[in-house]
Subunit: 291 residues, 6 copies
């Protein structure tokens, strides 16, 4: 493997599109992912490989790839000894962690893990589940499930399954009796890569650019015109953390004020600014924000 190329694993499936979108926003151009497992990226120092999130940490640890994106759950399940660079919340506004929960039929008489003594548990997350029950000294048989795990809650005694909102479990009339693990997406690399100057620098750059793109989604540029006499009032209304740019208009009695604000406060801020004398207020989208 060349010293000057970083082999990077992208999770195939539900996170794939979001990950590629993030790379695009971060300034990379990726192509060919619909038909190849080796998408092209316009940076000769990076090679991409699509892999399932479940197996990512294993390939990172083995050195087959240098770094990759996967869930905390599968790093734990695989027991992989890898270096975690950062957590990635794809969208600050809507992301929420996923949970692996222990679920049983609503109508049954099982209410706590201990009631499962001697039972069978179906799950995709076998090791973590075994460890969970061993830690509690509950004797169960844990079986690997090939998908459609909810359905099996009525064939065996309980399941350990992934859920975000609990909707799919409720739809199958299952109730959650415990949470084993909470998971978010992580950017990981192996220890050799982290000790290689080129690779560490490359990995850190990618981390900075991806996080800058994530932050940009939560901010907008804000600009307005105002009479010089209203400037102080307006500066007081604007969030105090940043000092805005103030420029003169061609008509020198007026100034333009520009800053970036959180998309969350924009909705309330804009009407206040208008009432305080601002005119020609407008907002514009951002690509990247680095504090």
């Amino acid at each position: 493997m060349s010293d000057k190329v970083l082999k990077l694993g992208i999770p195939k499936g539900s996170l794939q599109k979001a990950t590629f979108n993030l790379f695009e926003k971060a300034g990379f151009s990726i192509s060919g992912y619909e038909r190849s497992y080796f998408p092209k990226i316009d940076d000769p120092e990076i090679e991409l490989i699509l892999l399932r999130a479940q197996e990512m940490s294993r390939y990172v640890e083995d050195g087959v790839i240098d770094a990759g994106f996967t869930g905390y759950d599968w790093i734990m399940e695989n027991g992989s000894d890898v270096h975690e660079i950062c957590e990635l919340r794809y969208s600050k506004a809507t992301s929420r962690p996923t949970r692996w929960v222990l679920a049983v039929p609503e109508e049954g008489d099982i209410d706590k893990p201990e009631d499962l003594q001697g039972g069978i548990i179906a799950t995709e997350l076998v090791s973590a589940t075994k460890k969970y029950f061993a830690d509690k000294n509950i004797d169960v048989k844990v079986e690997f499930s090939w998908g459609a795990t909810e359905v099996k809650a009525r064939l065996v005694n309980a399941i350990v399954e992934l859920t975000e909102t609990g909707g799919s479990l409720r739809a199958n009339n299952l109730k959650i009796i415990d949470t084993l693990l909470t998971s978010t997406t992580r950017f990981i690399c192996n220890n050799q890569a982290w000790q290689d100057d080129f690779k560490k620098h490359k990995i850190e750059n990618i981390s900075i650019l991806l996080n800058a793109a994530i932050d940009a989604k939560t901010k907008v540029g804000l600009k307005m015109n105002a009479a010089k006499s209203d400037l102080d009032n307006l500066l007081e209304i604007l969030p105090s953390e940043k000092s805005p740019t103030v420029s003169t208009l061609a008509d020198e009695q007026y100034v333009a004020i520009e800053t970036i604000v959180d998309v969350k406060v924009e909705r309330d801020l804009v009407p206040q600014l208008k009432r305080a004398g601002a005119s020609d207020i407008f907002t514009y989208p951002l690509n990247k924000v680095i504090h």
Copy 2:
């Protein structure tokens, strides 16, 4: 109903996607509309409900919801006593009003409403159609049509149908002999909501933000560099209504000029500016514009 929640009706169907896009541009985040009649919005003071445009004004008037979006046609048809906040033209560039027209087969001998004396009229807009003929003292039977109304123009004597361009009528070889009603989308609320301070304020804020998002589609930010000596010339070419921002470059013989212009004039303006000495001209998209 809590005093601190505004119940807002969104029209299901052809306007639904455009309405949600507008809310997104206005800074709201909406989810769940594919599978629920009660989509979620990231503002705890608003609750959304999907309803057909046809029945919207009735539910607003009854107080089942506080406010909603619907067509002027259905407000008239239902005879609803509601308060109109504003007209919403989703896209200033391409929106055009819809019309309810009286149409008959091209090949027939009916040329004016009076020729329909004693006939049968099929329409979805029964009350407005009855009123139209009553005002003219023409005696007809008006029957409710469950869709595919164009087809019925040959089964009964005439139809009253919605049209935007007339294309579907022509494709069915129908001719228009009169227009009953012209309609655009309206933002309406009931009179109690309009007298409730919280609700009125909330409704006005939504109205401002939606209209700001609509206006942003028709504007772009425009920026260019120029020698100080060319500044006056360039200011004359720029639309006179707004005073642009003028800033100094690092190289102080030059200035940067910035303003927002109508997307319609941009195509012609940019070459003129270039000829008048501007360099490094660029334009950028806007999210929201409030005059």
Copy 3:
């Protein structure tokens, strides 16, 4: 044909969507291309026609249309005498030329063009292929192929086929033994149009606006705050070609610096700026860039 209308051919098929997107970014609004070969454009001085790239140059040369977009390959194949206004690289980042190559089965014993003496060649590009072999004094029969040409490499002796990455050829177990032609998209007009003042002016305007939209994809606006004392250092890091705008913040010890930079250097530039003292760095997208 009116002197005041430019008839413009758009290539139907793989380039169609990219061409329309470019026109949209250039400030034109186009509609109706899904159902008509004559899409509408919001400029009364332009009429659009959808044509296959293969036949475009012929219709331009004949004067059926004034100008159009097509590949260099088909201009050559048709031997058309037309004026080339510019080459259009739809995306500076990812566009690559297409190649017409001579390909044979991997498992056969043909390794060079000369081995095809007396053989049959299937291709969509008959004239250029005939010329290629005639120039080499190799006697072959060239037959027109109606698509699925790869499949025919085993029915006849060789094929001449279009390829971008060679992937489809490899999937059919074919090997490339020579390249006949390399091609990119061209904006062409006929000689009469180029001598007509109105048409030449219109064609040049379109060329400027399309190229401005292409260039905008490769640039971003960049803005940052800095202490006045760091200004000189930062100006040195920024690309020297342009002088950036420098404005004072409300807190007058600080300045805002703004410029546009190439999207390619942004990835490396941003971390350097940060290290040199810049804060609140952000980038924003552009619509159009004219140098």
Copy 4:
């Protein structure tokens, strides 16, 4: 309207495909229904028109069409004075009647129609609902609902809605507190058509052929060989209602027995016949069965 053409209305929507399939099985060939409201049929004495089930009986009664297929519910709702030729159970095996039920939220305190006194009821079936409450002397306001009626059960006080299995109501957490109407598909014509010899004969023919096609789905042809000595035993096992055909084989010690049996009993009959000495048992599909 020609005396020698029968105008026949086909219900657009959920029954449309089943109705066309039935006509195909009955020996008619129909085309063009995807793009026209006037599908073609290969019988010059029939003209087809697609209409909504809701308005079918009105157009039949008015004489706009001679006959049509619609539900008993909409004949009642429209109060149409029409002649019913037969009930059509599209599939004897799986068809079940639909019901219009009065439904309210599960969690509410409404348990019987009387609890709705003074309330609002949303429904597509306005007249029948008004009559139902009037008959019970319960004073309610009945409002026409444009679809998604289940959702409205929480906006107003109750709904009257169509259900087959109750599944959609349960999914919306609604409970049924009464049934207003049970409905199946009917073949209807107007009284003039029934007194016209040509039309009555044509209508009866269609009725016979459609019912023969429905019956054929529930029957199969059954054939087997047997030694002459086993014939009596086998005849006893076969359903007694029909006398089967008995033919001699080329080897005259054996006979072939043939009959038609109900598809429901076939599964149990075949093993019995085998045990009673039949060999070479086979079954074959039927197109049409007329007793």
Copy 5:
């Protein structure tokens, strides 16, 4: 090429599915046609190749394949010297020949071929079109058109285009001024194949089986029971061409009558038979019919 294998070309595109369905009905099982140009067939003496109808006769003539299915039009256009085995009307009920017609804009002043003297004709069928005009001593330039030919009728002077119903021409406001060629599907082979005993025999077998499958679509088996005393009456009603089978029922006073009838007369025949005393009438589908 082995003497014991027949290489058979199947037309890719609009006829492909109909051709495969016909082979299935004829008793062959074909697979793999969605992903391969060499579908598998369960007859080791046949090899299938998918080819465009336009090039089929050329490959047959060259001996690349032994036989194939294509249109009469393309045999003529290619001037191929091939042996025609039979015409194939895929469905006796609905097939109709396609026509190549000379079409011009409705609104123009061209009314007959002679008006095109000196003009340009666009078509996919170049040779046949040249020959047509040469035979009439009309001097025109004929240009090959890459599809969407209707659109070109306004770019050049006329087109020669394929039509079945004329619908697409009318939709483009074109009028037909002459018909050049009428075409149906043909089963063809080359002369060497026709002189090879094995291949000729194989080709004839395929022809018999395909035509038997086509004929089966127009017939049904018909069976009924009757009292012996009604037999003569019933035999008179049945189509006289064939003598039906008459068998005795277990109850010997009754007979079963069986025959095959045309699907077209079945609709009228069945009610007559019932009135004449037949009972337990049923019909069943056929796979293949050989007279």
Copy 6:
């Protein structure tokens, strides 16, 4: 679990549709399989469950279900102790066994299993693969692969993957160096079910009906008319195993001959019968055949 219900597992995925079609042909009506893992069947003594083929035998062995359909490969992989009722070849004509093969990159220097000593093998079939290498005394690491296994042949040293035709392997430029296992579909039950009278009887009935439906696909009914004088000749041509039915026609010089023949011989038989004097030959489809 009730004694009077048989719990039957249906394989989800590629065999699911074929299995349901077979049940339909066998006379059962199944519904709801698109949205539920527990489809309904119109036999109160059977309950259906959809399960992945990979886990079926485990659930059968455990007694979670009584019986099910799965591949021989997964019975072996799971090492399940179950009773095999029969092999099911869904279609006698086209079914072929699937193979698990050891595959490596074409371009590498691995040519036999022994070359993999010390290597890593990726596969979905871990146990069988381990056993295969252990039997050969080759030391390898076998890793479970989550799909897209072909892609991994270049990440690790070899793969063991399922193939029917080898097409997907070739497309990935892999070569097969050994076959581990050949597999077909089996109908299995557990030993307890096989000792329960009710369940054994039910399982056997299902087996008979499914096999009768499979056999019906390979047979057709054949009927022809002939002069009595040709009868003996024709009987000699017909397959000798069965004695055909011979009936007299209304015209008593003629007889009708009827039998069932193998669809495979029909193609050759029909022309021979014609030459031997048979007329009005036809064939018809069968639903079920039991010898």
